[in-house]
Symmetry: C3
Subunit: 274 residues, 3 copies
């Protein structure tokens, strides 16, 4: 088994993704692809960072994750390979690994420099095909990543300054909308751990979530715990606070978009940043 | 071979589908996926019911069909597994099986209750990942569905009241538009069997299809049997009456949307409901 | 290994593609699918011709490419199978092979007539399911294409008159926009070979690309060789002249759409048509 996942901003209208798979299969005929998404907003590295952090843990050991969100293609930006928790991650060094790296112990990171594995001629506009696909295929066949280039230290990688929730002077927990899904549910950057630091479960009723002019009281356990078209707050399936409308579209209801602020009120002040 | 098909309303923008596949491959590395569609309109159970009815027969015995259109996720709604014609169907008990169950003899139905196969912790918002994926993976590996929970009778399942064609007082066959495809062709709920009851083939010329203010005379044998941009009625590839425009977009031409009424006139009155 | 690629205009909303895969897997359980694209504009044969020409070379020998862009489905149009450079191509005979056939030596072409391999009953509206899928599956299992029907000569195939770049009376190289990708980059019909005939690399500075009212001076080596939101011209990853905006959307910036004219000025007159 040689599972290769793909996270790109290529879309599926053009032939880019299919061509990458052709290159991989030419090298490793046993490759099995899982398209995690090709709909990252063009060049949105933060979105890709959340997606890989939420996804990797559901894949078996040995999986190779190829992440090609690469606004710097053709520049001197590095390409890096990371081995961690038995899985492999291949990406431009642009911060996509920022959230993932907090998930466990890193075994090794290398800078991909060994041109022996690149496609020739090497284009300056489609490294997904010319570098990621052949390198990923070789890793999926068992090639040790140390063969790809010199080791790097974690501190040498580009680190994104991803917005974290914080406590305001007024004692509110201030978070932000990170993504809106197809159902109109929106996910915040407030995770369960952070929320549990902020509120005491036995006082749950006193928690209030404020979205613009709207307020939601308390947390729900399922979408259907409120009436149809009523809003609710819930710890979503990836462990983050999520706002939904039962049988409706919360994003449309609240006119909420990515980046909007979410406030949570409570009586007690605790810092939830690490 | 372990074929697993997927019918969901998840879209492909988010990581939901990829994560389900990761869970399946962690349990059954030999799984082969076929995405039938992830673009069911959010929570549109009727659409999913038509899709599975039209698709299943083209898959080999042993195929596991996972249908995750699940507005009731997190409620007490059951999840059921059905074995029929050598294939397996896994779905929330919400009526998605309504049309399929008329297609052949049912071997067994069970309610999925055995938590041993669920992912832990079990979320209340993403059963696709936590229940459907691991259960489907185990069925695809050959696990008997009776291990999943108690048997159910067909009558115990939720049954959708799907709109059927009928004969009006004026003697017209009254159908409805069920779906519009990418080409603008639209499919009705009038199938060939029903139509054949209504009209005598030797009087075919007298058949008239009425869509709003527009009329089409007779049935065609292929899209190209009329001039470019002319409308035609045809028995489509799934056995239902379909309206198309040769080299054009019928839905745009007729301003037709899902649910619109289609009338068929003929001299003779026959009831086509069973 | 039995790789089957798919190029269609079916989209992914409907079950068409999934059903084709079910038919293939029923015949060849070892088939591995690569979706090159299902988003060819409905019935746009020229687009499909560019896509297959740009893609095939990245796939291993033995790959079967199924191209179902088929406005003539149900008419007397032929279906053809072509063997070339160790790969197989299955398509309606409507010109999709026009650009591909210049890429190398053709081993054989046959007209698909042997109904033994067709699905029964044969619909007049979905040959992707009833003819392409079973025929492609059999080819992928090693069946010789001569079994499918009588041999054809290259000259007997439908040939598209695809717009080629030419030299105007004013001595400008006149090309056209062929496609616009998700990033807003647009590709022209001017390939590297043609451009090299037109300009002498040592006079590169004198090359000027004119898009409507806008002018770009010289060719770049990477997207990032100009400032953010500045336009550039580059030989793209498929060997064609491409216009892009660094970190921006060139198509939106220039209000350019498919079919628009691109002019390239230079002092010397050379004919670049073959």
């Amino acid at each position: 088994m040689s599972i290769i996942t793909l996270i790109t901003d290529f879309g599926v209208e053009d032939a880019y993704v299919g061509i990458m798979k052709g290159v991989v299969l030419s090298i490793n005929p046993a490759a099995v692809f899982v398209d995690i998404t090709h709909h990252i907003n063009p060049q949105d590295i933060v979105q890709a960072a959340y997606i890989i952090k939420s996804s990797y843990k559901y894949f078996p050991k040995g999986t190779v994750h190829m992440m090609v969100v690469d606004p710097g293609v053709g520049t001197e930006r590095a390409i890096v390979a990371l081995e961690m928790m038995g899985q492999f991650f291949l990406t431009p060094d642009n911060g996509v690994l920022t959230l993932l790296m907090d998930e466990g112990e890193i075994d090794s990171i290398v800078r991909v420099k060994n041109k022996r594995y690149f496609l020739k001629p090497l284009s300056q506009t489609f490294h997904g095909r010319d570098i990621f696909a052949p390198i990923g295929a070789n890793i999926s066949k068992g090639m040790a990543i140390k063969k790809l280039g010199p080791p790097l230290d974690r501190q040498e990688l580009v680190h994104l300054n991803i917005q974290k929730p914080y406590i305001s002077k007024q004692g509110e927990l201030v978070g932000a909308v990170v993504s809106v899904d197809r159902f109109g549910n929106f996910t915040t950057n407030i995770d369960e751990r952070c929320l549990k630091k902020f509120y005491k479960p036995n006082h749950e009723k006193k928690l209030e979530i404020i979205i613009g002019e709207n307020r939601i009281k308390g947390l729900s356990n399922s979408y259907s715990s409120v009436k149809h078209n009523h809003p609710l707050a819930i710890i979503g399936s990836f462990g983050y606070l999520e706002i939904a409308l039962n049988h409706g579209n919360a994003s449309r209801h609240f006119k909420t978009v990515k980046g909007d602020t979410i406030l949570i009120k409570y009586i007690q002040e605790i810092h939830c940043e690490e």
